[in-house]
């Protein structure tokens, strides 16, 4: 059973976070809110998200797993206006989730959870580098790099005391450096890894709305992005596997 009401914008934010990586997921619903963890089809990126009951205007739920068609949800969200209140309603043992807003009532058939990939294990990672910056700055850097390349290196140079992002195309280069005064926080540990901009572009769009993004970096290791949504009542972790530097 699920009976909840939520601001359309917060719901849109939640769906956007997930849809950046996957088109369907297993949504865990309980009295602690909603949460999911999913990897993309290529096993390169992972999203974990939790939205606490306080993010909803009202929320009652029993523990269950729902198979969500995220791509379809995204299309429905396009029909909502800013400031709409969305109510979600799933009866006990029901297979259809009712979404009601502004007099519209969508009745969405849930996916069979067995057809959706299981929630992955969280890799154990050693990510010593830590940077905190605004989501907007991060997204801008990603966009700037994607003009000339399909990959970007993120790194910390402790001797110069900077966080840098650099990208190299066939003929062109771009480098962006940010010192301590432009960042919220920077750890002085050597780190550098290379990532596919294909994935980062989609993640960056979502992260641009966050006031603060915590970036955890290692050497040729995945990168982890942590940020809040829904005014701190929801939390997101993105994990992205690196590319190895070309020979």
């Amino acid at each position: 059973m699920l009976k909840a009401a939520i601001d359309a914008d917060i719901f849109r934010e939640t769906i956007d976070v997930i849809s950046a990586l996957v088109t369907e997921c297993r949504l865990q619903v309980s009295d602690a809110g909603i949460q999911t963890r999913a990897v993309d089809t290529a096993n390169v990126a992972m999203v974990s998200i939790e939205v606490r009951p306080e993010a909803f205007t009202s929320f009652t739920a029993t523990t269950q797993e729902l198979g969500m068609d995220i791509a379809k949800m995204k299309n429905i969200i396009a029909m909502m206006n800013k400031g709409d209140l969305l109510s979600l309603d799933l009866p006990e043992d029901g297979h259809k989730l009712a979404l009601t807003f502004r007099g519209y009532k969508y009745s969405i058939t849930l996916l069979d959870v067995n057809t959706i990939r299981k929630e992955p294990n969280m890799p154990n990672l050693d990510l010593p580098g830590r940077i905190i910056l605004s989501g907007n700055a991060l997204n801008s850097a990603i966009k700037a790099a994607s003009v000339i390349s399909d990959k970007i290196a993120l790194g910390i140079d402790p001797t110069a005391g900077i966080f840098y992002m650099e990208a190299e195309g066939d003929t062109d280069q771009i480098r962006l450096e940010m010192g301590k005064d432009e960042l919220e926080s920077l750890s002085m540990t050597e780190a550098r890894s290379l990532f596919s901009l294909d994935y980062l572009k989609d993640m960056g769009k979502v992260m641009s709305r966050a006031t603060q993004v915590e970036v955890l970096l290692g050497n040729d290791h995945p990168v982890k992005f942590l940020f809040d949504i829904a005014d701190g009542k929801g939390h997101v972790e993105y994990l992205l596997a690196p590319r190895i530097e070309a020979d």
């Binding site: 088109t23 290529a42 399909d150 596997a241 070309a246």
Partner: protein, 384 residues
């Protein structure tokens, strides 16, 4: 910069006649006549002046179906000869619309009687997407003498005006109606809710794309077999190499026009395009991209597998006349029917392709290949 590789006769250079295609103009004898009685196997709609397009029947007693040409081992000369004798009759849609419907609906050519304004004139048109046609005449009247013979699924889908075009195309394809036939129905405006006549060139790509969308949905949950496979075949100077790798759906096509080939010019020209789950925008490779993709998806559906594919099309100077994107579809289908060369690892695969092509140019152009070689997965970091 020479743009012939992306333009393929669409007039990007601004010249009134394509210098590449105009070299075929001289090669045929004409017997001008201002009437025609005989078979009309298919229809054709031009894209000039859209939405006020002109269209009409293609008139020939020969075969019009590319799959038939390939099956009967027609050479490129034979095809050009057959097509050069084909008449493209056009008129404003109001005159030809009904007879176009009859012709497109029928599974075998219907007989027609046509009167032209003036004797037909020689006007061999080539372009990358369409099969060539040699003679041209402006129609004043047309009468269909036969009754159309219509297969049951075609009858059902074309008479249902609440069925959207995408679903109609998908249904026809699943009931084993030829892709060529579906394109004919689409161009003559017999599918969908708001029906209209569609320029044939657009219809060909639209149908390829719609079928591919349906196939992508159906193969989404297919298992990925281990192993790297390479299939290859050559048709009319088009060498198709198809590399299938384990992984989720991803597709990349690399088109290599050899030096002195049709659109190649003085040096080799290479064009690439690719996609992951969704394709946005029209491909710079044009219709060929969609035709080859259809062949790959067809194979994956038949075998119940999922794979990432890289298709290399290399065009030599043997391909002296552009015949239409069906060549790529048939070449890719033929390639995928051949027994695969199995490669133990990705580096062997790249060496094999380079050996087949005799050059490693494709490797520099392929971004998918680079990604596959360098991208780690999260599983690489889950210990024990």
């Amino acid at each position: 910069m020479k743009q012939c590789g992306t333009c393929k006769g669409r007039g990007f250079c601004g010249l009134s006649q394509c210098p590449v295609t105009s070299r075929f103009y001289a090669s045929l004898s004409i017997s001008p006549s201002s009437s025609y009685m005989g078979g009309a196997p298919s229809v054709f709609v031009g894209s000039t002046g859209y939405p006020r397009v002109r269209g009409g029947p293609l008139l020939t007693d020969g075969s019009d179906n590319p799959e038939h040409w390939v099956h009967h081992k027609f050479g490129i000369d034979d095809i050009v000869r057959v097509r050069a004798q084909t008449i493209r009759g056009t008129a404003e849609a109001s005159i030809t619309c009904e007879s176009m419907h009859e012709i497109a609906l029928s599974s075998r050519p219907v007989d027609v009687e046509v009167a032209f304004e003036k004797p037909v004139r020689f006007d061999l048109t080539f372009d990358g997407t369409l099969a060539p046609v040699g003679l041209y005449g402006s129609i004043t009247s047309i009468a269909v003498l036969d009754n159309a013979r219509v297969e049951r699924p075609v009858e059902r889908v074309t008479s249902d005006t609440d069925l959207r075009a995408t679903e109609a195309v998908d249904q026809l394809y699943r009931e084993k109606v030829d892709v060529h036939r579906i394109q004919q129905l689409f161009t003559s405006g017999l599918l969908g809710v708001r029906r209209r006549i569609v320029p044939t060139r657009w219809a060909i790509t639209a149908v390829d794309d719609m079928i591919a969308e349906g196939l992508k949905q159906r193969i989404r949950h297919n298992p990925t077999p281990e192993g790297i496979r390479i299939h290859t075949a050559t048709l009319y100077g088009n060498q198709i190499i198809c590399l299938l790798l384990p992984g989720p759906w991803a597709y990349e096509m690399i088109e290599i026009w050899d030096k002195n080939s049709l659109w190649g010019g003085e040096k080799t020209s290479i064009i690439r395009d690719g996609e992951r789950e969704r394709k946005s925008g029209y491909s710079p490779i044009a219709g060929a991209y969609y035709s080859a993709r259809l062949a790959v998806l067809e194979l994956l559906e038949q075998t119940g597998h999922m794979a990432s594919a890289i298709v290399v099309r290399r065009v030599s100077d043997e391909y002296w006349a552009p015949l239409g994107t069906w060549v790529i579809r048939e070449a890719a289908r033929a390639a995928l029917k051949t027994p695969p060369l199995c490669c133990p690892d990705i580096d062997t695969a790249s060496r094999t392709i380079t050996a087949l092509l005799g050059s490693s140019d494709w490797l520099a152009a392929s971004t998918h290949f680079r990604t596959i070689r360098t991208q780690k997965t999260l599983f690489d970091f889950i210990s024990g």
